[in-house]
Symmetry: C2
Subunit: 482 residues, 2 copies
């Protein structure tokens, strides 16, 4: 930082406080294991501790850092605790944090190739690497018809896929009125809420999202899909889009992509595959069965910000045919015209998503891949799956608990056989205790507990602990004569 007066932070202060925050983060990741995982504050508590008005005069940075501990930390729910089994992992790592720091320090905009060529080209290179690393279809590579781009989240990726599908089926006529009136999209009953959100946003209408039933492992029934498509066509509707899950949020169900893909091909529908958490498993050859049939997909996404040690946000979104995406989003006002764009030799990633501006997110992903190497990443994915399977074995061997589904990877859905009340009690008790946390879903009309293993530093002793806590809470409930 240039050392000028006038309120800016001088270089020496930036270094001093920068080191302090680096130390603080290193220390936080060491002590987070000891902290109550879910924040215990009440609504409004943090808000009311913050002053009513912004300061007229600047505060010292030392004061700000004190307030982090005093005001902010009590309201933090610790997603980076190795005792985190709730919702889904949002794991991170040292190299990722440093990549985010460098990206903030450079402060470049990657909206056009010209606004920082490295931002675009490193991204293209790293997402090309990932095609090989996960053994994805080669059509997703930039030297083929497709390509990948970093999006903020799978919700946005799904929306982009749906919009590209809508434009393809309507002949890129989104400048025309009411083109969306008779389009129908499909997803299983287990699809993530982002599918319905996307369908609403795109003006398709939720009633035109048709839910397809699932089998006993909550995977979509392709026969039912095909019947529904045929019925809809008979009613004069236009089936155009389907979103398949590789690892549903609720229970990690794996939709049969190959069979679904065949139906899409026959009926000329866009197949989007959402592998938000589970896609990362394909780093390991033994888990690549999850991607069977993926060559049928028009688009695909997975989130390194869930299970690949890269901090949020970092969703990687691929399309088989990049022209479909670019034609959907490209608009070129005069003030963005430039020679590189007009040469057609470069990607302008703003044409691959909703936003115009974009951060240099490829840096953190590059740091993670280079630091761990493929082998390091594989090691941790295997370890997480091993721990989840170990926990599943304990459940299998227990008299009181049962697995609701066979866990394919790192998410275990289980419940006490005693009904919803005891399961609710177990969850509330363990979570209130602060030593571990997990969340729930409903499957087969049961309240089902979800143990999602994926935090960077979760190891066998942590999983043993949460199992002890669950059993304790179970015994407590019983001995309380409830």
């Amino acid at each position: 930082m240039p050392n000028d007066k006038s309120f800016h932070m001088p270089s020496k202060d930036f270094k001093r406080y920068g080191y302090q925050i680096i130390d603080w983060i290193a220390d936080y990741h060491e002590r987070v294991e000891q902290m109550p995982v879910f924040s215990q504050v009440s609504p409004g508590e943090i808000y009311s501790k913050l002053p009513d008005h912004a300061p007229q005069q600047g505060d010292s940075f030392q004061e700000i850092l004190k307030d982090i501990e005093k005001i902010i930390m009590p309201g933090i729910t610790h997603w980076q605790s190795p005792n985190w089994y709730a919702f889904f992992p949002a794991n991170t790592s040292g190299p990722s944090i440093l990549g985010e720091l460098l990206s903030a320090g450079l402060g470049v905009q990657g909206m056009l190739w010209a606004t920082s060529p490295s931002c675009t080209e490193l991204e293209t290179r790293v997402v090309d690497w990932l095609v090989e690393m996960l053994d994805l279809p080669s059509t997703f590579k930039s030297d083929n018809t497709g390509g990948g781009v970093i999006q903020d989240s799978a919700s946005s990726a799904t929306l982009c896929a749906l919009l590209a599908a809508r434009e393809r089926i309507t002949g890129y006529s989104s400048n025309q009125t009411g083109c969306t009136g008779r389009l129908v999209a499909y997803a299983s009953t287990q699809a993530h809420s982002s599918i319905e959100k996307a369908v609403k946003i795109a003006g398709i209408g939720s009633e035109n999202l048709h839910s397809i039933g699932v089998d006993d492992q909550f995977a979509m029934l392709p026969d039912q899909l095909e019947q529904q498509v045929l019925k809809d066509k008979q009613h004069g509707l236009t089936p155009f889009f389907i979103s398949a899950n590789i690892g549903s949020t609720s229970s990690n169900a794996l939709d049969p992509v190959a069979e679904i893909g065949e139906i899409c091909r026959k009926h000329k529908m866009w197949l989007h595959v959402d592998a938000a958490m589970s896609g990362t498993a394909a780093l390991c050859p033994e888990f690549r069965f999850i991607h069977r049939g993926l060559e049928c997909a028009d688009s695909y996404c997975f989130n390194p910000h869930k299970w690949m040690f890269t901090n949020f946000d970092c969703d990687v979104f691929y399309v088989k045919n990049r022209d479909a995406l670019i034609r959907t989003f490209s608009l070129l006002p005069e003030y963005l015209r430039n020679k590189a764009s007009e040469s057609g030799e470069v990607f302008d990633y703003r044409d691959w998503h909703i936003q115009l501006g974009r951060r240099f997110r490829a840096l953190k992903l590059w740091f993670v891949i280079r630091h761990y190497g493929i082998r390091g990443l594989q090691y941790h994915i295997r370890e997480h799956v091993r721990l989840a399977q170990l926990f599943a074995d304990w459940i299998r061997r227990s008299d009181d608990f049962t697995l609701e589904v066979e866990p394919p990877l790192n998410l275990v859905c289980f419940r006490h056989r005693g009904g919803d009340e005891i399961n609710q009690y177990i969850m509330d008790t363990v979570n209130a205790g602060g030593k571990a946390c997990f969340t729930h879903t409903r499957l087969n009309d049961h309240l089902v507990l979800r143990l999602s293993v994926g935090q960077t530093h979760t190891r066998e002793n942590h999983v043993e602990t949460v199992w002890q806590l669950i059993q304790q809470a179970s015994r407590q409930y019983t001995s309380n004569g409830k």
Copy 2:
């Protein structure tokens, strides 16, 4: 970081490399002034320097840092150079970079209040502060009917506003088919391309975005707007949304919000006001004229990531009635249910935008406001406006150059009187020289040069330099006998 073997970065390495990157950033901001502003690389140059395949074994972090200098830096276009006058500012500052670092270190998800109460409540507090700081309508505050939320970009904010407007006019019937067929949106001919992008995404259709003419300062003509609305109603269409600019991208035009608001009120249309760059000027009482009439707006956004020393992404989006927004986006799958959400006492910000996941972006904004204080921020905004006005004076006093519009704030639109060719030459020559950079637009069928003053460290000597460079290039063109 817990010190375990198995590929993770040990705590001591994280500290060591963390300090190195902090030092590197401090140094970068000192030397960036000397670097060619626009990257000079050719398409594909960076991509080809990166290995074809991801490494099997992890690399040392020292190697990665070397490659930053060797491979990445030549492809960086330096948005943080004080010689940056292109497009718009995307300025940042020490406190903001440290806030982003801390946010990455904590690695929390703010999708629900419960997933980190501090992430939600600090955000609410800081955006409430900003209502006072910019003297915005009090209905935008969280203790009133409205509220603010941090979005990634003004493009997303505009889309959210448009969707909430669509849902309000159709009675929140986005689950129904073809509800969008006869809706019409409005914006001036100078509106940002994100408006058209949003209209396409929402299924309204570009042909239903009606462009309204502008006056000689490129501000929307309210009479023409009203005539168009009446005409559209006569044709059986439903006017429902208008986006007004406070500071258009091309030339910083200020639409007459009060007059437009009156038309919106009469015809029950949603008024969105986009003040992406210029909103920040309202930190200073003398520039608050830009917001005249804002009490009529249903929604409003401005970007601290443009001109308020907060690194991208950080757009602040306000609505007058938060229910309209929440009803548009809220979907509650079982796996996200929790007591706090059901109590109705908390904001779950995932219901305020498109994405589900969200970063802890309020931290960097809080750091910036606390570090600078209102006075520090005002000082720099005034200084940027003063420098732009100084440059405008030089243009006024020049025989060769002319102002295309009177600059209201920090963006100067000017051109050489000699026609498009010399202006193109001047821009290309200065940009190729690397000592400063600016971009262009078209106004009144002229190629017009834009000097956008807003980088954190731009001072009078930098503006003097770019003016010298422009005059030199102009003389060069003439003496080359072109």
